[in-house]
Amino acid sequence: MVSGLTVNERQRALVVLALLAIVGMAMAAFGAMRGDLLQVHGFVVLLFSLVVLAPVLKGYFAPEPPAERLHDYYDDPIKVGIILSMIWAVFGMGVGDWVAWLLAFPDMTFDAAWSSFGRLRPVHTTGVIFGFGGSALIATSFHVMQRTSRARLADQFSPWFVLIGYQLFCILAVSGYLIGITQSKEYAEPEWYADIWLVVVWVVYLLLYLRTLARRKEPHIYVANWYYLAFILVVAILHIVNNLAVPASFAGVKSYSAFSGVQDAMTQWWYGHNAVAFFLTAGFLGMLYYYLPKRAERPIYSYRMSIVGFWGITFFYMWAGSHHLHYTALPDWVQTLGMTFSLMLLIPSWIAAGNALATLNGAWHRVRDDAALRFMMMAAIFYGLSTFEGSFMAIRPVNALSHYTDWTVAHVHAGVLGWDALITFGAFYALVPWLWKRERMYSPVLVEVHFWLALAGTLIYVFAMWNSGIIQGLMWRTYNDSGTLTYSFLDTMIAMHPYYIARAIGGLLFLTGTLIACYNIWMTIRRPAPRAAPAGDTPLPQPGAPLPANPQPAE
């Protein structure tokens, strides 16, 4: 990997890592002076820079890479990204299943602060959304942008900076929760210094994407790139605005949000719902729009539906966040806008899902035989189901029943397990043999096993939480003839207990599938390469050679 970098790039890596180590030491020193938790994170940063430094130093004296490499796609960071993503998947889903059991049996905390639900839950959400999902999005975006632009990544240094720098953000986030560092904003828990670091990483990511697109040899920009770009651009905006805060001290972890009261709540849920929209939806739609037609070997069903879907999704989602705050101190008119735009959002969402499923017309025999493609098909179905459910739950009277119950948890997991995770696994099963130049995955049977475990796990999870949530919501609003509430909160907890166990079992099935995927991917990588490379990519234009197809003017 390092031997593929030029000496100049290796030096740049050393400089960045040295600066990072110095920042880590400074954080540790300033934190220690005030007895602040910042010192722990200073050591985390220092240790991280040293761990990354090791391979850079090891490969530092390798000979300069041949110039011919520039005539091919740059896939090293994608490969590392896939592996990192799978490590986060095991970690994040493992913690998720642990907290699922913890909810069923709340005594499993060993009387230790780090093991309480309040600290482990964000470890789970950050581990799966940002660790697993984010790394997968970065890795696949590097792949898709190169293939659909027929251009090599704009340079070799920034993809590594983005991928590895992003890992540092995730590690700071997760380790912080365990020792009690959080700004208590859901999905935006990391404190100010981690947030600033993510801004740096993200700006480099955006620039890399734009620079690579600018080098494209295709006249048009493919729809997957629209979605990836929307993901990168809007996540930057959301992240910066929602995390505006004043640090209590530059030598401490604590900061105070720039917003207060209902404005804070509204900003948080504008962020929160658009994180669902642009992180968990737009980015993964980019994945869907490339890997599904590529794997099915069918044309996208409708270019026009792609356009209407994209602009509908990006426009309507922006308004929908306030549906998280129905029946609160938020003014009525903001709730109205949140609900109505959520309803209008349904159609563009279904256009995207329908466009994907209609693309499979003429490839259903492949869906039957190829579990990787079936992962993607099932993901599109779950995407359609959960967007319907989301619009439905945004209707105020429905929300009155569903809000604060496990129904919300069911909805989220139908989305993240059924949609985001399945499309990612489908994409990885397609991508791993392509990138490592193998004929196929090590074991197609294990891909099948994974598919059914993941599907069964998702269904068990979602049905358990639907039952639990609706029972819970109904119990909360059941009245006696005397005009008083029938059930105490404790009664609802007792009613939910069997569903909590079912949920944990569903999660365990899903986690088992992920472990099988790790094994299968690992064995595919370890298998010696066949002589012919079956990646099936259109090659980059070679220097001196005439341009292949005549690029069309942009319309």
């Binding site: 037609p293 044309p299 026009r304 003014p331 256009i351 059930y487 105490s488 005549n550």
Partner: protein, 298 residues
Amino acid sequence: MAVEEHKRERDPRTGHMMTGHEWNGIKELNTPVPRVVWIFLILTFLFGLGYWIMMPAWPIGTTYTKGLLDTNQHKIVTAKVQRAATDRARWTDQIAARDIGAVRADPALMAFVREDGHRLFGDNCAACHGINATGGQGRGFPNLTDGDWLWGGSPDEIAHTIAVGVNSPASPETRVSQMLAFGRDGLLDNDTVIAVATYVQSLSDPASAKGKAAAITKGREAFAANCAVCHGPQGHGNQQLGVPNLTDGTWLYGGDFDSIYTSIYEGRHGEMPAWEHRLTPVERRILTLYLLDKGGRS
């Protein structure tokens, strides 16, 4: 190939035209957006439009469009809460006004008490006393169904305990009670603590005294000198001070030797919150009735 040639290409499978775009082998059909999609897109927009006209919707400067229905969720919920309170008043007024004994004798009122008491107890008391009010086994939360009361089981005493709590910083009137840490604070040496624990255990469990005559004698003397002032010369306790009876086999913190030893050595200082700020007088009265009912039935 020119653009026009691409446009003429037709997908043999679906019969739709291609756009002529291609990325790494991925092509696109130029299929029109199905009419049903436009219809539903328009329908959802029309619904939104109608909703905006009827309901508070769009901000304008410092105010917003009020909507034809002129609704306000705060007014709605306030009215609903008031209506519900009026609805409940037909029986809550009677419970508040009538004598406790009269309420207990009225089956219709007691049916309300059992319904609402279950919810009130579950939401406020069950976290410590358990959903069935049977207390926490050996963890200092008394069983409220066994007729054995620390601070008295009359309606007034129970109501007072609920209102002011025990050792509660939230109420100046709170009931105060503390078991001293005789061992830890050096009031008694360790051997004496062991002897007193042996003696106290024997009060409710005579069989445990077998073969420990010396310890019993020593424990009895130390008990008379140190413990009897609160627990009484016979260890029967004192409900005026919330002092438990040590002879009845009912234990707050466990009746085995180790638990008794720990109670004497480390002391005990349980706390019950005062509920007078959180629960209304009627709600506390319902809880009192609910407990009398529970205790009476067990």
